[in-house]
Symmetry: C2
Subunit: 502 residues, 2 copies
């Protein structure tokens, strides 16, 4: 299926993961290679897929090791699109016909608030302890602040402890470290798909760990209440499927709120998944980087740390970062919360390579402890702006007759454009993506998220009104030029399917 | 030889590296386990040793992978000593009988200068681009500044280029990334020993790369002009020895100025080593983190970037950081300079996991461009203080009749205490180290640096006068209580052996 050079293709590899579209949260999903075709076989009904990114990459450099070449390939494939976008980036005055980026999941709505807070005089503190070698778990003053912060915002039944906190330079690093300390080379994590595709490289580049996709689909059947619903049955099936292919699964990754769906798991669902993991002695990595970006009150978000009694606390590891909830992906702050001291220690040992500046640790502590500003200024304003942008894009999509999910969390809408693909193939999805790009608007196609149904796109709405409306205008132009070839699929029409924000 | 649990001991392993004393630049060399004995066999005359840190580690955690357990072991073994020191840290007022740290290689002499500079208003700039996803190679404004900075201070024959710069959060990360992209699992780098022992874990924890030690000794024989002199002959011998054990060597690590020796390589030596590497198609990683900490004018330091024509520029990679030369190991800034774009790109791809904050990138750029402050304030004062501290310790050691090398660079003196070891064993070296610690002064024993001659210690002098004199007083007490059992060895008496700072 793939036209990329195959390197020692392994028989068990049914899908190499979304390797072709890496880094879409940092380059706007522009890293797409048309020749890369790695969706699961549409003809088979398998509900899982084992991804081995090492099975394919581009031409070798004689200076690099084989893994060095794979690592470089991940960059190059992303770089291709990155260059496309950055060579023609939209600027209101300098390049008004440049590309509008509705692909990168960044919150660009609150720089005014953040710039003000980060420029206050309490932020610039320089003392010897901050300039010297740190404790690689993070300075105690910051870990204490993180524990208090998570206790409050995750609504933990008891105060969380600084000893269970490890801070580092972002959740990408945390995925890398956890994959390495929990798995042997070639072992795997389960992950429900569609999922934030960069996880593929985060667990693979250093850790050589694979992902086993638990494929979800949009059809609402049986006991399901919404599209792309994860169930324990699907998890069991994927786990058995991996085992049948000789792949050892060591854990389950849950992203909650979900990216790209925008849904949140109910406490009951969470508990079921944690019980499933406990039965199989699987670690659970719960990535909650959008936990404060739930902008619809009725979404009913619950952190894993809010649960009264975790089924398997020693194998439950929560991740959070400032990238999304504080719109600062460039600040590089992430944190692990785990009761397992072996895991915390092993991750801390790798934090020699994921350390963040003492000066930034001071800034983060100041930010996290400023509960007045967060509660009375930042969060209300941020949520209001997110909601307004979401409402605007929702209405635009509705006017276009395009179905989409309404999750009420995150910076994106998961949009169903399947009716614009005559044959419903992945190649057509890429053609449509190219048409958007040719019309100077960047979206992320479903393939980026390992979605098994071609035709879904993630559209990021957390941008300034001017850019957002121009971007939507360009989306509209492409779709209006392109007659739909079918009605909306039954599962996604006529109204929005999720109902989570009703 | 080792009493630590052996895990799949490999026949080719003659020395597991200084695994017992990791992280001594971040915890003061306190991570020493008396039961760990990993020096090369004194009875054999081999001038090399292949280190496989995976061959030994402590008890397993059921929650971690085998590599996770090794990673945790590296932390625990360091932590043991770290706790000892930090539980009883010296404080002039609060704990005057606490431990004085002359083990950690940090420059504590210039916090006043640095605090002043970093507190200036130009340092706190918050703009959207700094808060958004960066180019993982580093912001262009910083890479341009680094290129100008290195051009000037390394005296490059032509201006260096921003395209050849990759910035990340410290040289530890850079070792990790380079090891991974240049070597397959189990391959190796040559490194002259004694060497900064943390390199062992930097290339191993993520990269599973080994070090092949090129053992140097203190005897000045043949054409040698100073103790611990590296020659091409020794490099060739180690390379052949590794090959004979089936270990593939991919590169050579040179630390210049040398840690722990304090020497610098002459341009002629550098060129010879680079020619050797070229003959064998080896990469050369030149770690120059102490390049601006040469406090003796006559030391004659030359950066690898100052050479007129590199023998193999595509395999020559220079490393620098702010940790030592700007006394800011907690700031987490390091940089790679390489003409090899494949290597730069592959390292940049891993920089997703080694990124530093946009705010810190701004601060570093401001610092590096402030040539007036660096040249007229910081460097002269820093060098004067380093020199004064070095002179003080040198005189103390001379008064004690203790030989030592005078390198004229770095923060440390390599001290010959062999005459205090009755049998000249590694166990006695550890006993002496314990005696120092019991007398509340922390030094780093030669084992930490994989020195094959027991009895050498690294003593860090870059501390405030009060702490330094108290530390030296405690050193003196231990040595005066301990009669020397032998004369100073011929190579190191009566005067200082190196003569490099004469």
């Amino acid at each position: 299926m793939s036209t990329l050079p195959q390197k020692n293709p392994r028989p068990l590899t049914s899908c190499p993961g979304p390797a072709c579209t890496q880094n879409m949260d940092s380059n706007g999903g522009a890293g797409l290679r048309r020749e890369c075709c790695c969706e699961p076989d549409q003809k088979q009904s398998k509900l899982y897929g084992v991804g081995d990114p090492a099975a394919m990459f581009s031409c070798d450099s004689p200076y690099l090791s084989s893994r060095g070449n794979i690592i470089k390939w991940f960059w190059d494939s992303a770089e291709e699109g990155y260059r496309t976008y950055h060579m023609d980036e939209y600027d209101e005055k300098k390049n008004p016909s440049g590309i509008i980026n509705l692909g990168t999941s960044e919150n660009k709505l609150c720089f005014d608030l953040l710039s003000w807070r980060l420029s206050q005089s309490d932020m610039l503190q320089v003392e010897p302890a901050l300039l010297q070698y740190p404790n690689w778990r993070g300075h105690l003053f910051l870990r204490e602040e993180v524990a208090r912060f998570l206790s409050f915002y995750c609504k933990s039944p008891a105060p969380l402890k600084a000893d269970n906190v490890v801070v580092l330079n972002g959740c990408a690093s945390l995925f890398s470290a956890l994959a390495t300390v929990l798995c042997e080379v070639g072992e795997a994590f389960l992950i429900p798909a569609p999922y934030y595709g960069a996880v593929t490289q985060h667990v693979h580049l250093y850790g050589s760990v694979q992902l086993v996709c638990v494929y979800l689909d949009s059809e609402v059947s049986g006991l399901a209440t919404h599209p792309f619903q994860l169930t324990v049955g699907k998890l069991e099936e994927a786990l058995q499927g991996a085992a049948s292919q000789g792949v050892k699964v060591k854990g389950l990754i849950l992203i909650n709120p979900q990216n790209p769906l925008g849904y949140v798991y109910s406490p009951e669902e969470l508990r079921e998944f944690l019980e499933f993991a406990k039965r199989h002695a699987l670690h659970v990595l719960v990535d909650e980087v959008y936990m404060l970006s739930v902008f619809v009150d009725t979404a009913g978000y619950h952190s894993v740390l809010s649960l009264d009694r975790l089924p398997d606390p020693q194998r439950t590891h929560m991740m959070w970062a400032a990238s999304k909830d504080f719109g600062m992906s460039g600040l590089r702050f992430g944190t692990l919360y785990t009761e397992n001291q072996d895991v915390a220690t092993a991750v801390a040992s790798l934090c020699r390579y994921h350390g963040l500046s003492g000066l930034v640790q001071h800034q983060m502590a100041q930010l996290l402890r400023d509960r007045d500003w967060i509660n009375q200024v930042y969060l209300p304003e941020n949520h209001a702006r997110l909601k307004a942008a979401h409402t605007y894009v929702s209405e635009e999509l509705a006017a276009l007759g395009v179905p989409f999910l309404r999750g009420g969390a995150g910076f994106f809408i998961w949009v169903d454009l399947r009716k614009y693909l005559p044959k419903g193939t992945s190649e057509e999805e890429m053609l449509l993506w190219r048409r958007f790009l040719d019309n100077k608007v960047l979206l992320s196609p479903g393939k980026t998220f390992e979605c098994k149904e071609p035709g879904w796109f993630r559209l990021v709405f957390s941008d300034q009104p001017l850019r957002l409306s121009l971007g939507m205008q360009r989306v509209r132009q492409v779709l209006e030029d392109q007659s739909p070839v079918a009605k909306n699929p039954p599962s996604c029409q006529p109204q929005d399917p999720s109902g989570q924000d009703k």
